[in-house]
């Protein structure tokens, strides 16, 4: 009898241990597809790092550019336009296939020489300089660029060039020897990578289940399983955490932090995310064509008060479009955006503002504090005589010619000014492509110097010139780097790492542990 009881107790302990290696995350949003190549959304960036690897890795404990071997163990420049990378041997995908140079070339060229329209968008906005990847042997590849590239490692560490299996992907639809659009569509619903967790279940927009992949080439994943479920309502997410339905919840508004911190079983973690909440203004809208009107709309906004009131002072209000993560390219001394209501009034008078109603579009929930900030901004506009109105809409209005002003975000897709401002406000980039921003030959020439100069000081000087252009004729105002918070039960040791792009849910070894496992 004693032996039976002892065995039962031991089994119960083991069972508890096994259960404790599982967590559930209540997320505000879950992607409708999972493909690191086509995705660059704030929602999607949560999901890829657990399942996929890049050729060149990064130490995410630091904001410095501390590059680490990942799927490539070494990389060298063999001429100014070609990098050669030695691939790690013995790496397998989560479906059991070996990873070789064929997979790497396939993965890179699907972006560098994109034919699938969603890849073409990402290829154009950040990978346009990359010509092709070439197989040298089974474990050696070469990557070629059009012009000398100052950001080699950075752009081989991108989410968009994470490695996927060639044979598996091509066989998903149609001809198994040919990469077709249907293959990539199918892949986005059944993704496979080389990372420490396989996506074992994916319900688009609702649920992602990660299961530990024991064949992972690196350190063993600490969790047996992690389930991310969508709980869009803040109050519901907090309730799920309190009742134990979720172990971690995302996107906790600053107003809710006190409530969670007051619970002895819960805690919060947060950081000023590497992303700007921005206000964009349609430079081509008839009411906003005069840059003085847009400058006034920008100068009327007291961002420090927004920070104090809505973020309890924890957000970071920038003087220009720059972030500390950008290392040598970080230029906090530039003053591009200011609060000056008197100057705003003067500019409105000079421009002959006639009281036209300016609408500020915002999604009701997508950005933490987004609707509150929109209402506060419209009130600040009224202080300088601008008639504003908040238009709550779940539809993206950024490409509409009727757009006047709306909120948006400029994430840091990679740690360089090119990875934030440079992507969003490039000549023929997403903003100009949507018809709400114009560039000219002079802007393109400055942007080119900023993008391709090999000398850091030359890049900084060119970036400062771009900021002057933006100051004089503003299409955007970075409001702040929001302080994003996650809440969890006390037994979960997890926090966002400073070296990641925004919102990454990193459950790899060294990133999460459970006190009760």
């Amino acid at each position: 009898m004693k032996a039976l009881l002892t065995t039962t107790a031991a089994l119960a302990c083991l069972a508890t241990g096994a259960l404790a290696q599982q967590i559930t995350v209540g997320a505000a949003n879950v992607s409708s597809y999972l493909d690191p190549g086509r995705d660059h959304s704030n929602v999607g960036s949560q999901f890829y790092y657990n399942t996929f690897d890049t050729l060149i890795g990064k130490n995410h404990d630091s904001i410095e550019a501390d590059w680490q071997p990942a799927l490539a163990t070494e990389w060298t420049m063999i001429d100014p336009l070609t990098m050669e990378l030695k691939l790690r041997e013995g790496v397998t995908f989560q479906n059991g296939e070996d990873m070789t140079a064929d997979d790497v070339v396939f993965s890179l060229n699907r972006m560098y020489q994109a034919t699938f329209p969603p890849y073409q968008v990402r290829s154009k906005d950040r990978l346009a300089n990359f010509a092709e990847a070439i197989k040298v042997d089974d474990y050696t590849v070469q990557v070629k660029v059009e012009r000398e590239e100052p950001l080699w490692e950075t752009l081989l560490n991108l989410q968009q060039v994470m490695i996927i299996p060639e044979d598996y992907t091509k066989a998903l639809s149609g001809d198994p020897q040919v990469a077709e659009d249907g293959d990539f569509e199918a892949f986005s619903l059944a993704p496979v990578g080389t990372g420490p967790y396989a996506v074992s279940e994916f319900v688009p927009g609702e649920k992602v289940v990660y299961t530990r992949y024991d064949g992972f080439w690196g350190d063993k994943a600490p969790l047996e399983q992690a389930t991310v479920i969508r709980i869009p309502e803040t109050a519901s997410r907090i309730t799920a955490l309190k009742t134990g339905e979720a172990d971690i919840i995302t996107n906790v508004a600053p107003d809710q932090l006190g409530l969670i911190d007051a619970d002895a079983n819960l805690k919060t973690e947060g950081s000023a995310t590497a992303l700007f909440h921005v206000m964009i203004m349609n430079v081509n809208h008839p009411a906003l064509e005069d840059p003085r009107i847009r400058r006034a709309l920008s100068l009327a906004i007291d961002r420090d008060t927004l920070n104090e009131a809505l973020w309890y002072g924890k957000a970071i209000v920038p003087s220009t479009h720059t972030m500390a993560e950008m290392g040598a390219l970080h230029q906090p001394d530039l003053v591009t955006f200011e609060y000056d209501p008197a100057e705003a009034k003067r500019l409105l008078d000079a421009a002959g503002y006639d009281g036209t109603e300016i609408t500020f579009d915002t999604d009701p929930v997508y950005y933490t504090n987004g609707l509150l900030a929109a209402q506060a901004i419209v009130e600040m506009w009224s202080e300088v005589g601008v008639k504003g109105r908040v238009n709550t809409t779940s539809t993206w209005s950024g490409s509409s010619p009727d757009l006047m002003v709306r909120n948006w975000s400029n994430p840091m897709y990679f740690a360089d000014p090119f990875g934030s401002f440079g992507v969003m406000w490039a000549p023929n980039g997403p903003s100009e492509g949507e018809g709400r921003f114009n560039t000219d030959a002079e802007y393109a020439e400055i942007w080119d110097r900023f993008r391709f100069s090999s000398d850091v000081e030359a890049r900084k000087a060119a970036y400062a010139e771009l900021m002057e252009r933006i100051k004089d004729n503003p299409p955007v105002l970075p409001l702040y780097r929001p302080y994003e918070s996650w809440a969890m039960r006390k037994g979960v040791n997890w926090a966002p790492k400073p070296g990641h792009i925004p919102y990454v849910l990193d459950f790899r070894a060294g990133s999460i542990s459970l006190a009760d496992s």
């Binding site: 109050a235 107003d255 104090e308 509150l372 209402q375 908040v390």
Partner: protein, 294 residues
């Protein structure tokens, strides 16, 4: 002279109504009257502009609690706006939307019911088919569809609330018209050569006012709840304009930390619907001779 002779009669009718009402009906009437007065007088009695923000005074509790800001009796909301002022203006707008919506429903449904009852034939079939269709589909879904297509502007909102209950009016009016047109005095009017429109307006309509008034009252509370539901879902009147429903909707994330943001408008919704529902039942009971003695 006319006024002088009529006043005692009206006073007598109201006094009789009051005397015959039970305690709950009296309480409901007083609550309803108080709410209407608060709504009408909102611009005069609200202590602050309901849209005026004070970001440094966000989420302050009502009087009597720690961190209360003097003057803001019921506290402030997530943008530092006065909850009392917003509640009063919200009540005013909610009541206005409900009255407009119920009136549009009454006009639309009443007219179509009248036409169906008098014209018969394919006209009646078409109208009653539309009535059946609307009854078959949950109206909240229809409202969500309309608001997502046409946007959540005030005119669209009024239109949505207006078509929310027209089918009930149409059914009641058609049934009443069919009943009344069989009565001898209508036959007499027809025999004396009265045109259909004259008969409809002069003889039929006055005799169906009573059930319409009852339905109007009942529809009012349903529309208040519908407006609150749509606003709660973020599809109603857009911020910063306050309705009772939108105040509850946007305040729901603050329920654990700043419950006063939700309690006051929610209480007003409850009192308003309670009051209107009880008064509607009361009027229905009085209009129906079979229920009057109960």
């Amino acid at each position: 002279m006319v006024d002088v002779t009529q006043t005692p009669v009206e006073r007598g009718a109201i006094a009789t109504l009051w005397t015959e009402a039970n305690t709950i009906q009296k309480i409901a009437a007083l609550i309803g009257l108080a709410l209407v007065l608060l709504a009408v007088l909102a611009p005069l009695i609200a202590p602050f502009d309901p849209l005026k923000q004070s970001l440094i005074a966000r989420l302050r509790p009502p009087v009597g609690f720690e961190r209360h800001k003097p003057g803001f009796w019921l506290g402030t909301d997530e943008l530092g706006r006065d909850v009392l002022s917003r509640s009063l203006y919200g009540l005013r707008l909610t009541l206005m939307l409900a009255l407009l919506g119920a009136s549009i429903g009454l006009l639309l449904g009443g007219t179509l019911g009248l036409v169906a009852g008098l014209r018969r034939g394919w006209t009646e079939d078409a109208i009653m088919g539309a009535v059946d269709l609307q009854i078959a589909v949950p109206f909240t879904l229809i409202a969500l569809l309309i608001l997502s297509i046409f946007g959540s502007t005030l005119p669209v909102m009024v239109a949505v609330l207006g078509i929310a209950g027209w089918e009930q009016y149409a059914r009641i009016v058609r049934a009443e018209v069919r009943r009344i047109t069989e009565l001898p005095f209508i036959e007499a009017a027809r025999a004396s050569g009265g045109p259909p429109r004259y008969i409809a307006l002069t003889h039929v309509l006055p005799n169906i006012v009573s059930p319409l008034v009852v339905q109007f009252t009942l529809a009012l509370s349903n529309i208040v709840i519908l407006e609150s539901t749509l606003s709660f879902l973020g599809l109603g009147v857009q911020p910063p304009t306050a309705t009772l429903g939108s105040m509850v909707g946007y305040g729901r994330d603050y329920m654990p930390t700043a419950p006063w943001m939700v309690i006051v408008p929610a209480l007003m919704i409850i009192l308003l619907t309670f009051s209107v529902q009880i008064l509607g039942d009361w009027l229905r009971d009085r209009a129906d001779v079979r229920l009057r003695s109960r």
